[in-house]
Symmetry: C2
Subunit: 196 residues, 2 copies
C-alpha cells in the first residue's frame, strides 16, 4: 500500500532532519510519486506526522510490554538488566525509530497538538511505576540497599536515556558491546564496599 510506503520514507526523513526541515516534495520523490499524491492518503503534513507518531508510540509500548513480560519472575537486578538490554537492542536495530522518538520526546514540533503526545507521556508514567515496583521488590529481597525506589527508577531511566542518546550521537560505536559494559558500570559500582 502506498500510504505505508509514504510513512516509511517520511519516518526516515523526519528522524534525520526533523519535522520542519523535511519537505513533502522530498518525501514524494523518495516514495516514487508526485507531491500532490500524498494528499490522497493524508490530509496534510502534520496528519502524516501524527500517523507516524501513533505507530512509533505503539512500537515503543510493545517493546516495553515484551521486555516486562520476558523478565517477569526473575530476580529484580536480572529483571532490570534484561529490560535494559531488550529496549537498548530494539532501538539499536531501528535507529530511525529511535531518532524519531527522542526528537519527539525532547523537541516536539511547535504546532504539534498536545493530545498527540499525551498517550506517550501516560505510557511513560506507567513504565516508570513498573520499574519502581521492581526496585521495591529488589529492596524487599535484599538485592538492593534500602533507598527510595522511585529515585532509583529515575536513575535507571537517566542511564537508559543517556545510553540511547549516545547511540544516536555516535552511531559507529559498537553498542552491542557497550551496552553490557555500561550496564555493569551502573550496577556494580563499588564505593559501598568500603562500608561507606
Amino acid at each position: 500500500m502506498t500510504a505505508q510506503k509514504i510513512q516509511q520514507v517520511a519516518l526516515k526523513l523526519f528522524a534525520e532532519k526533523g519535522y520542519d526541515a523535511t519537505a513533502l516534495s522530498e518525501i514524494a520523490t523518495k516514495t516514487g510519486i508526485k507531491k500532490p499524491s500524498i494528499y490522497a492518503h493524508f490530509p496534510g503534513k502534520m496528519e502524516l506526522f501524527l500517523a507516524i507518531v501513533k505507530n512509533i508510540s505503539h512500537d515503543y509500548q510493545a517493546c516495553w510490554t515484551d521486555a516486562l513480560e520476558q523478565s517477569v519472575n526473575l530476580p529484580a537486578d536480572k529483571q532490570l538488566e534484561l529490560i535494559f538490554f531488550a529496549v537498548g537492542n530494539h532501538y539499536i536495530n531501528s535507529r530511525d525509530k529511535l531518532s524519531f522518538l527522542v526528537r519527539l520526546w525532547l523537541f516536539p514540533p511547535a504546532d504539534c497538538a498536545t493530545e498527540a503526545l499525551d498517550s506517550l507521556h501516560r505510557h511513560n508514567e506507567v513504565i516508570l511505576n513498573k520499574v519502581t515496583v521492581i526496585f521495591q521488590q529488589g529492596i524487599k529481597d535484599k538485592i538492593f540497599a534500602p533507598q527510595s525506589p522511585s529515585d532509583m527508577a529515575q536513575a535507571y531511566f537517566c542511564m537508559l536515556d543517556g545510553y540511547l542518546a549516545r547511540v544516536i550521537r555516535y552511531p559507529n560505536f559498537d553498542y552491542k558491546r557497550a551496552i553490557s559494559l555500561i550496564w555493569q558500570s551502573f550496577m556494580f559500582n563499588p564505593p559501598i564496599c568500603n562500608n561507606n
Copy 2:
C-alpha cells in the same frame, strides 16, 4: 550592543523551537527592531546561529574547566560527584543554553557546517579522557573496583546526559533535589556487597 541582544533573543528561540522553525522576523520583533536590521549585524541566519554556537561552546568549556579545577585534589569519587553537581547545576540555571546545546549535539541543522561542530566534539573527547583519568586514579586508590576506566567514563556520561535530558523534558521537577538522589543511586548501587 544590538548584536548581543539579537543573540540573546535568538538563543532562546532556537532553543525552544529549533533552527528551522525560528523565523528571523520573530527574532527581530522580540529584539525590538525590524527584520532587515539583523543583516547589519550578521550576514545571514546561519551565521547568527553559528555565532551562538561559538558562545555556547565556550560556555560549555568554561563550565567543565571550572568544575575540573574546583575538584582537583579531591578523592576520585568526590571529584566525580562535584563535577556532576557543578555541570548539572550550571544547566539547571540556564535552560536555554541546555536546550540549545542538546539540540545541537543530537540534532544539528541539516545545512550546518561540520567544522562548526568540530570544536565541540574535540572538547567532548578531551573531557571524556579527563574523566577516564579520574576513574583510573580511583581504581589505583582502591576507591573503585578494577573495571575498565573508559567504560566507567562512558557510563558516567550516560548518566549525566540522561539527567540533562530529563531536565529539559520535565522542567517542573525539583532537580536541585533530584540531582543528588540520582547521583547516589548511580554511585551507591549495592549488589556487589553480596560479593557478586
